[in-house]
Structures are given as C-alpha cells and as structure tokens.
Amino acid sequence: MSGQSQRLNVVPTVTMLGVVKARLVGATRGHALLKKKSDALTVQFRQILKKIVSTKESMGEIMKTSSFALTEAKYVAGENIKHIVLENVQNASLKVRSRQENVAGVKLPKFDYFTDGETKNDLTGLARGGQQVQLCRAAYVKAIEVLVELASLQTSFLTLDEAIKTTNRRVNALENVVKPRLENTITYIKGELDELEREDFFRLKKIQGYKKREMQRQLAAAKQFAEEQFAEKVSLHKGVSINTAHNLLSAAAEKDEDIIF
C-alpha cells in the first residue's frame, strides 16, 4: 500500500469541489457518531464483563451445593436413583426462551427460562427419600436459573465484542483512509483551479500587452500619416518638393535657439 493516501480521480471543477466538500462533512460527522457508538458499546461491554465474572463465581458455589444435595439424595434413596431418573426422561419441562434486546443500537440476545408443562413427579420406583429428592430437584432448578442468566450474559458479551470490533474498524477506516483521501482530493482540485486561474490571468495580461502595443502602433501610424498630409499641403502651396517641405516642417518643429526670428 502506498504510504501517502491517494486522492479520488475527479474532474477538477468547481461543482466537484462542492460535492467532495459535502462528502468530507458527511465523513466527519459519521466518524464522530461512530466514535460515540463505540464508546457506549465499550461501557456496556465492561459492565457485562463484571457481571459475568461475579455470576460465574456464584455459579461455582451453586453447583457445589446442588451436587451436595444430589449426594444426600443418593445416600437416602439408594444408588438406583440414577437409573430411575434416566428412565423417566421424556419431554423437557424446563425450557428456555430467547428474545432480542436493543442496547445502544445492537441487538443482544437474552434468555429466559420457563417451565413448560408439569414437572414430572412420577418417579416410580423410588421407594424412599422423596423429600431429599425434592430438595435436590429444587437445588438444581435454582442452579438452572443462574446458568440461564449466565448464558444470556455470555451471548450478549460475545455479540457486543463483535459489534465493537466492527464499529472500531469503521471508525479507523474513516479516520485513516476516507478522510485523508477526500482532503487530498480537495487540495488537488483547489490547486488545479488556482492554476487555471493563473493561466487565465496570465493570458489576460498578455493580451492586454498586445492590445496596448497595437494601440501605440496605430497612434504612431496615424501621426505619421497626418504629418505627410500636412507636408503635401505645404509643398503644394509653396511649390517646393516634398523633401524640402518636410525639412521646413521639421525646422519649424525644432526650436533653434541661435536663429532669432
């Protein structure tokens, strides 16, 4: 890539100058707006990141408690609980709903969990420990809540990351490529227009010079013509040759100091 940014290839006219200037104004405004958007998105990004970190911590805690509850249930209800639960899987009763939220112009996904249908309480084959199993189930449902929220945060986080990268890319492109190019184009057009003006000016001056010389030449020619006419008249009157008439006239024109008339 060339070090100096190129300029656009345009015809250097006054109209084009106006057009390119308008584009430069547009680019500047766009650049300022995009920068603001990028800043707003970064603020959101950091907030989400903080929340993610704290939620992940609490998730670790909750998982520990839930697996502890499961161990208790296993202890009370016997080891068969695994198989019974595995057998009883049919349709999920805990599902997740996803919707979109608009944050600073970016669509972020958000998850909510909801219970769809009845929680199966028919754990047939479970002879004892029903209460422990219920407790365990409650603990795991709570864990699911936290996990769904964490998933929400994580997807928003990743989406925001993408959005920030795109916006920053656009800001940099405007700042480092588009604006210098337009500015160079404007400088070039102005330069060409100035040169054209100087050419015009020079041409005008030259023509004026010619005209003046023409005028002077014409004046000199006219004067000479007038003199000759007069000389002719004098020679006719005095009956002398034209040359003598010229001498007479030129003598009359010169003021000889020695001759006193």
């Binding site: 990141l49 993610i52 970190v53 704290s54 992940k56 911590e57 998730m59 670790g60 998982m63 520990k64 839930s66 697996s67 509850a69 499961l70 161990t71 609980i81 695994k82 639960v85 595995l86 899987v89 049919q90 349709n91 999920a92 009763s93 805990l94 599902k95 997740v96 709903r97 996803s98 919707r99 979109q100 970016v106 669509k107 996904p109 998850f111 219970t115 769809d116 929680t119 199966k120 199993v133 365990c136 189930r137 603990a139 795991y140 449902v141 864990a143 699911i144 996990l147 769904v148 964490l150 998933a151 994580q154 997807t155 986080f157 990743l158 989406t159 990351d161 993408e162 959005a163 795109t166």
Partner: protein
C-alpha cells in the same frame, strides 16, 4: 449489520448437557432432559469409557441443532475438546462451562474469560481465583 438474522428468537429451546453422570442426573431430575421421537436426547453422559470422538460429535451435533439454546459442558470435558470449544464463535447456542464434583471451577481455563484476559488481565482472572 453483522447480526442480521443471526440471533434466532424462539419460544422454546432446550438446554443440552455434556457432563459426567452425577451432573447430568441432577439436571435431569430438575426436568431438563428431553427425548424426542427419534430417541435423540439432549444430553451426553461422559464417563471414563467415552472417547474424545464421541464427545466431539455430540458437541458438533448440539451446536448445529437449532432447538438448543444453551449447552452445558463440564470443565474437564471441555478441556478434552478445548480446541473445538475455543474455535466456536457463534453467539447461539451459548456454551457454558460448569464445574463437576471432582473438578472445581477454574476460571483461568474458561474459554470466554480467556478471550478477555488480554483486556483485563488483573481484574477478571484474579477476581475469579479469589
């Protein structure tokens, strides 16, 4: 812009699981498990006999199904297919790493947090390890 038609809004999406037996049993107890007509489940129990290939296939399958919104994966399982997890960059479904009974949670190896480690190296990792 880059997100046009990338985030599906659905009204009922499942939670998939790739974890060890205890974790999966616990979540199934809560009612997350789903078996559809073709006997396809939304969970995979990982034990000492599961091969890495099986885990990989399950992961790829869960992430390409569009009725799954979240994939829970135990952290030690995620370590086995770390490269797949790290190269996954779609926003939906979301991949969450959960700890398991024998492997407590290690925020340093979480794929999402490691991506931002370069941003907040002191903050996030240190606060996770408190």
């Amino acid at each position: 812009m880059a997100n046009r038609a990338e985030i599906p809004t659905s009204n009922s999406a499942l939670i998939a699981m790739i974890a060890d037996e205890d974790t999966v049993v616990g979540f199934l107890l809560a009612g997350v498990g789903n078996v559809d007509l073709r006997r396809k489940t939304n969970y995979l129990i990982v034990d000492s006999k599961t091969t890495v290939k099986q885990i990989e296939d399950a992961f790829k399958e869960f992430t390409s199904r569009d009725d799954i919104a979240i994939v829970l994966i135990s952290q030690y399982v995620a370590n086995m297919i770390r490269f797949l997890v790290d190269s996954y960059n779609k926003p939906v479904p979301a991949i969450l790493e959960v700890p398991s009974k024998d492997h407590p949670y290690d925020p340093g190896r979480d794929s999402v947090l490691s991506r931002v480690k370069y941003l907040f190296s002191a903050e996030s990792v240190a606060s996770g390890r408190r």
